[in-house]
């Protein structure tokens, strides 16, 4: 459905996308992750036909990315706003609907995205989240086969995010191929079929969330008071205890055996302290991400 091989894009001396290759299968939800400036938007916009690659092959729906032939099957939600400043919400959505042969009903979409109240508001006066909602509505109004969503939930409130994920879910049920970028790693882990992680233009990881987080040595992590005496605890359990964040600790270099769990909780009990959370699960995608993008 989407095929990218050896994609390279330079801005002057900066190599924004560096020899990146991946495929997205039909109906798959592919999430592109990476720190600010990693090259996510550049990659996605090349696939949308908004920017030109310097090198490599980009195929979308069996055609070169951005070609006229597929424009009616591709939905786009860019990261930056790009509509007429003076157009009203309803006008914009109707305009885009008119570009497609069998569009969704613009009024139904406006209701769905809670844009009814601002249907007569000029684009430039919409709030940040309202602009994002409209942009997402425009991306899906043509019933696309492939959808590109660049940070769809950025700037949205809780409800907007929920609507967005339910739309993404619906698109997926319909068999739509979806490629999105986000900085919300927990959401990515929850929804993605496969994840690619970009770091300084290079694709440093590619696979399903479970592939990326499994097969790695797990550690015991726990949270308690901010001033746990890690030295004393470490001596008691015979391992090094590191402070991972405020009130969060991990036992380094020792697999989480039942014995270890018991030792840690015993030590806490002996000092009349409470362990607030204890986790022996596999690494979260976030942990993996932080490791590969360091």
């Amino acid at each position: 459905m989407i095929h990218v091989s050896s994609l390279t894009k330079r801005y002057g001396a900066l190599v924004a996308v560096d020899d990146v290759s991946f495929d997205v299968a039909p109906g798959e939800l592919f999430v592109l992750l990476g720190p600010n400036g990693a090259g996510k938007t550049t990659t996605v916009e090349i696939l949308e036909g908004l920017r030109k690659a310097d090198d490599g092959t980009t195929i979308v729906l069996d055609a070169p990315a951005g070609s006229r032939a597929i424009s009616s099957s591709v939905g786009v939600m860019p990261q930056e706003s790009d509509l007429y400043a003076g157009i009203k919400t309803a006008e914009a959505l109707r305009l885009f609907a008119s570009f497609y042969d069998d569009p969704e009903d613009p009024d139904a979409l406006m209701e769905r995205f809670d844009l009814d109240r601002v249907r007569k508001t000029n684009y430039r006066r919409l709030s940040g989240g309202e602009k994002r909602r409209l942009s997402l509505a425009i991306a899906i109004v043509g019933r696309p086969k492939v959808v590109f969503l660049d940070e769809p939930t950025a700037g949205m409130d809780v409800e907007g995010r929920a609507t967005t994920w339910s739309i993404v879910d619906e698109l997926k049920q319909r068999g739509t191929t979806i490629m999105l970028t986000t900085h919300l790693l927990d959401e990515a882990e929850r929804v993605a079929d496969r994840v690619g992680i970009l770091h300084r233009g290079k694709l440093v990881a590619l696979g399903s969330p479970s592939q990326l987080t499994s097969g790695r040595s797990t550690e015991l992590t726990f949270s308690g008071d901010a001033d746990v005496d890690t030295e004393a605890l470490g001596a008691a359990i015979g391992a090094r205890v590191a402070r991972a964040a405020k009130g969060v600790y991990r036992v380094a270099n020792m697999p989480p055996t039942p014995r270890l769990v018991s030792d840690v909780t015993k030590w806490f009990a002996s000092r009349d302290l409470l362990v607030r959370r204890l986790d022996v699960g596999p690494r979260s995608l976030e942990e993996f991400y932080l490791e590969v993008t360091r």
Partner: protein, 239 residues
Amino acid sequence: MKRVLAQAKVELILTLRRGESMLVTIGIPVGILAFFSLVDVLPHGSGKAVDFLVPGVLALSVISSAMTSLGIATGFERHAGVLRRLGTTPLGRGGLLAAKCIALLATVVVQVIAVVVVGYLLGWKPHGDPLLAAGLVVLGVLVFAALGFLLAGRLRAETNLAAANGLFLVFLLLGGIVVSMSKLPSGIASFSRALPAEPLATSLRDALGGSAVPIRALVTLAIWAVATSLVAVATFRWD
């Protein structure tokens, strides 16, 4: 076609909604026509002021909508990423360009009606060839739209704004629109005959005055039309 018409309708609505654009396309030309017809301060040669002014103000109307208003709007749309975005939809770049041209022609029709009605109320009596005049207006639209696109496709949005307004003023003063060419120093006059505004105003004046349109003016306009179109197509950036 359905797409192009939907886009053209939105382009037209947005143009009508922009106050500054209405001011420059309708307000200024009609204002100039009314003011200088009623107040006899202009050195415009012999004859009735309104007869001299109507053809020139028609040319000014074309310049204001095709170059100034469309060019400035297109520059800001390019800057905001609107052009590149619409270019990747099924509308496409060609469809967007066609829609802009349709909306422009509709705007020009409104302008012509406004100028003719006001001119008529001020005592203007046309006795020329309206079809020839219409053809000249279309040629003028082509020249000045190409010029507007040329600037908008290359300059920064703010620079483009300044350039389009500056050129508007140059054409207004040197284009034989309010000031007769015979009142300009001969060096300046021959310079402005080489620009596109004077040939348009002069040929419209001849067409509506019942005299033969000078070939020189037509050739100058045609050269401008071809040259600006080619350069605009070659240099236009969509983002």
